[in-house]
Amino acid sequence: MNTALPSKRHYVDPAPFDPGAMEPIGTENESFYRASSWQLMWWKFRRHKVALAAAYILLAFYLLVPLVEVIAPYNQTTRHSDYIYAPPQSVHLMHEGRFIGPFVYPYAYTFDIETFQRLYTVDTSNPQPIRFFCRGDAYEFWGVLPTNVHLFCPPENGTMYLLGTDRLGRDLLSRIIYGARISLTIGIVGIAVSFTLGLFFGGLAGYLGGWVDHVIQRMIEILRSLPELPLWLALSAALPANWSPILIFFGITIILGLLDWPGLARAVRSKLLSLREEDFVKAAELMGASKSRIIGRHLIPNFMSHLIASATLSIPSMILGETALSFLGLGLRPPVTSWGVLLNEAQNLAAVQLYPWLLFPIIPVILVVLAFNFMGDGLRDAADPYH
């Protein structure tokens, strides 16, 4: 260009350029202007106290996942046939006015012949201290390392059912801890499925436009107008009964992800369409960047934060979906333990009236769902740090 029109060359000031002389930036502003957008997001997220607390709670929950065998006092399948439907034992610190560290009182039961109920009586004369970093049920850590070390164990020759036991005399607390592994990972795997689908279809619609866009949009509308649960039910009823628990697990996550992607795809599409008109895209185009580079290098990083925020907000619905399906007996099946599978036992009203501690798995479900909601809200606010 310059060779064609030599007279219209740019004027360039020969004096050296000193950026500091133009607009003095305060030290406070400087760190703000120089920060990467991820850093800005973190600063903004950090100000949201509730979201931050929720993030720490979730972190604690997810740290549990690889360590369940160590943290749970019993193995998930250990049956204690002498203690069926035993009520929760509480942890005490003081015995007869004296501090002796955390301990439990043992209980004995009598069988009521008339009501066919076990009556548990607590013996408060004999405190049994809880052991820490101790040896208990044997297990294989991560499936390779045979060991029997636990974070805390029942007293010697005693029992410690902090949340009671179920109909086979299995410790409910241990089962809830084991269940966390499945229930928490299913949300992440499910969101990965839905994220991939959403990015693919949304990207296709926003990028290609035309009839592809039209078809995908109609598809999204139809899927969004269907009630999720009946479809989940129908799809999981279609999983063959002879599949192994692992295959069922993946089947369920795929089912959960299959109906969740339309929301994400819609977000991807609208973001792509609006960002396509931005100046920086035009600039990249003029500089000769290829389409794939523009999409991969400029567009996607721009709305990734939004996507992550909205994905966080849809994890709870996955966890709840799994819980609901398993609760109804159409999701995961024993021997796999998830919170929904545990709640399946609480489906029976009589059981709930006699053994209300079977409802305990509700608490972690609600806690995790709330935490994801709060964290997602915080992330969404922080996702756009320049506003």
Binding site: I222, R224, L226, P227, E228, L233, A324, A346, L359, I366
Partner: protein, 339 residues
């Protein structure tokens, strides 16, 4: 308006057609079906008569034909063994598990499903609007914080777990049994005033439980909308000119903030119906929920297919109604050729 209505009706018909294909595909997914399982079982037991009857049923319902033909017959656009007789003609098929027509099996459950969901929609609006107005006009007051807090809890607590907890505590503290549709002594009795009262009192808890999550979401959205409107100049002007505050609020900003509120019914309905299916299962309400679950478990294909179709129609019609209401309220939508 007529053109708008026609266009929406056409879209709805196409949507339902696609949904019906989807539903049929899903109920056909599991290998085998109720009848062939049944026949295998009967053969093993050597019950030749019953097996012959089941085989007759297979021919009767064309289950030996390819799947796409079965679909067209089920839909009613292709003549089956009994001529044109499918969903379009009002023949909902045969329930193999109950050995009765689907129509008889679902019967009252359909009305109850509609009643419970309608009740939940009404509950959401009646509760959410006043609370949202209160929250928005007294932003950051104690009441606002309480409403926000309960909103979050309502949003995060899964409805079926809430139903379980309520079932337990109401029974324990008040001796109220909230499961089922009416007290046991009214079963099989004619509809009398006490029976209707019993029915209504049993419906309160499910309606509240189903509607709670929706209410929480509504309050949040309505509060945000109203706050936006309250900051605008026309409202400040109206107040400055000495318009009665109640009138100033209800006549302008409130009406403006209602628009997204109605548009939301469409988004709300799929969730409501999902919730009602689950809650009915927990509270053993005879809506379509429990029937669907048992039909899916036993692969009773026409029954399951019909119920899936029914809930889809319910949501799609609900969305149509909300669209029409919106178009009636806001001329920009019907003129702007949205669609």
């Amino acid at each position: 308006m007529i053109r708008f209505l026609l266009r929406r009706l056409l879209t709805m018909a196409v949507t339902l057609l696609i949904i019906s294909a989807l539903v049929f595909f899903i109920i056909k997914l599991p290998p085998g079906d109720f009848l062939s399982n049944q026949i295998a079982l009967l053969r093993e037991q050597g019950d030749a008569d019953a097996a012959a009857k089941a085989e007759f049923l297979i021919r009767q319902y064309g289950l030996d034909k390819p799947a796409w033909q079965q679909y067209l017959v089920w839909l009613g656009v292709m003549p089956g063994p009994n001529g044109f007789s499918g969903l379009l003609q009002g023949d909902w098929g045969w329930s193999f598990e109950f050995d009765r027509p689907v129509f008889e099996v679902v019967g009252d459950a359909l009305w109850l499903t509609i009643l419970v969901n309608l009740g939940a929609v009404v509950f959401i609006h009646v509760v959410a609007i006043p609370i949202a107005i209160y929250s928005a006009t007294r932003q950051y007051s104690v009441g606002d914080y309480i409403a926000t807090f309960f909103g979050y809890i309502g949003l995060a607590t899964p409805s079926f777990l809430l139903a379980l907890i309520l079932l337990y505590y109401l029974n324990r503290w008040f001796g109220v049994s909230i499961g089922g549709l009416y007290d046991a002594q009214y079963a099989g009795e004619p509809w009398t005033w006490p029976k209707i009262r019993s029915l209504l009192s049993h419906l309160i808890v499910p309606t509240v439980v189903i509607g709670l999550a929706g209410t929480a979401a509504m309050i949040r959205r309505m509060r945000a909308n109203l706050l936006d409107e309250l900051g605008k100049q026309y409202y400040v002007t109206a107040k400055a000119k000495g318009l009665n505050p109640r009138k100033a609020l209800l006549k302008y900003p409130f009406r403006m903030s209602l628009n997204p509120f109605i548009a939301d019914i469409g988004n709300l309905l799929p969730h409501l119906i999902s919730g009602s299916v689950l809650v009915s299962l927990v509270l053993s309400l005879p809506t379509v929920g429990p029937i669907l679950l048992s039909a899916l478990k036993s692969q009773d294909q026409f029954l399951a297919g019909f119920i899936l179709m029914f809930v889809a129609v319910l949501t799609v019609v609900g969305m149509l109604v909300s669209d029409l209401l919106l178009a009636w309220l806001d001329p920009r939508i019907r003129m702007g050729g949205a669609g």
